[in-house]
Subunit: 224 residues, 2 copies
């Protein structure tokens, strides 16, 4: 039995933008325009605030006045030991385990700097169904990841296609900030995001980590 996810993963939730090769390639051209004029050279982080926390099987309310909502299948890395300036070689020693994350978002107007308003709506970060200890996960950088909507496979990829692997992310982020035990790194969502609607049943599956299901519901008082 693994320890309860929400007991261990009680810290900050850090998202990594643009961490799949396919997604990065799609956006490379725009990065050479103003105001940035070059692609990001370091991991671009965003934060999922505590109001976004959500669990396996728990509903996500489709926000009113929002045109599109997109699930974000992602591997979650739960930090087990404070990490400050750790090397790539030692990075994985700081991992307690892994879990499935569905990093919901409104469509981005900028991948370079994800907006709080798009990422931090209430319930926008389901995690689960459980924390799988690192010792039970062979290689976190070679896990199949799939998104199902109402039983239909809509997105699939593999963490092997990440721009930075788990150890590189921990090393590069811990260069400029301490990652604390209990923090969660959301290691990126692959290209090909799809739209979902109230009434949809959304499931993210990762090899060896199980399935995380989120029913999308309409706001009370609104027709589905």
């Amino acid at each position: 039995m693994s320890r309860a996810l929400h007991e261990v993963a009680s810290g900050s939730l850090f998202g990594v933008a643009l961490n799949y090769q396919g997604l990065l390639q799609q956006h490379l051209a725009s990065f050479h325009e103003a105001p940035y004029r070059q692609p990001p050279v370091k991991p671009v982080l965003f934060i999922k605030t505590p109001n976004t926390r959500n669990g396996h099987g728990q509903a996500l309310t489709y926000p009113s006045a929002v045109e599109r909502l997109q699930p974000g299948p992602a591997l979650g890395v739960v930090i087990g030991k404070d990490a400050s300036r750790v090397s790539v070689e030692q990075a994985l020693e700081h991992v307690a385990g892994y879990t499935v994350v569905n990093e919901f978002s409104l469509p981005e107007d900028s991948y370079y700097r994800p907006a709080v308003k798009a990422k931090c709506r209430d319930g926008f970060c389901p995690m689960g169904p459980e924390l799988v200890p690192a010792s039970q996960v062979g290689n976190p950088d070679a896990l199949g990841i799939r998104l199902w909507v109402n039983g239909e496979l809509r997105q699939q990829n593999n963490t092997a296609n990440c721009v930075r692997n788990v150890a590189q992310l921990i090393a590069e982020i811990s260069e400029f900030m301490t990652l604390h035990a209990g923090d969660v790194l959301i290691t990126g969502t692959p290209e090909g995001r799809v739209d979902v609607l109230p009434g949809d049943q959304v499931t993210v599956e990762i090899d060896g980590l199980g399935q995380l299901t989120t029913p999308i519901v309409a706001e009370q008082g609104l027709a589905p």
Copy 2:
């Protein structure tokens, strides 16, 4: 006696970018360029993560490999009651009190989307010296705010010059996310940010809220 600040203000720390008229005016031209092509229409938020928390009189370590560090004098609004879609008229009922914040940052390459790497270094968000209950603060939108470096006045402004006042911020942010009791809104830093160096003593003062002092220290093993 006010309740202990860190006991009450234990939630998320939300920063508001570009919330002083002078700063907004300075950057208006650039907002009409790609990729945004218009100024922000809603409050632009950023997050100070828990590793940035710091207290009155506590040191901030000047990060290595960083060329410039800038203090950010700001009024902190501590939420006392959960706020979800509250009106401007009712917004201030959700405030527990106010405090002084020094929202340290590396210089921004984009005010439109502040970077985690610039904002979320360890210790980059001193707050204090105490929580002053809302009932003891007359009008939060008419407070003088001053920055002193080594006893020299370097920046001064007044919260009356904010683009959005405290009630407007709470109303507009709570439209899209729940602000929880214990969360802190950092209502913006005025134009004219200055650079500080190891060895400097940095103080932010706000009318009626006291003085928050932060000594800047060099990293251990490095000359100041």
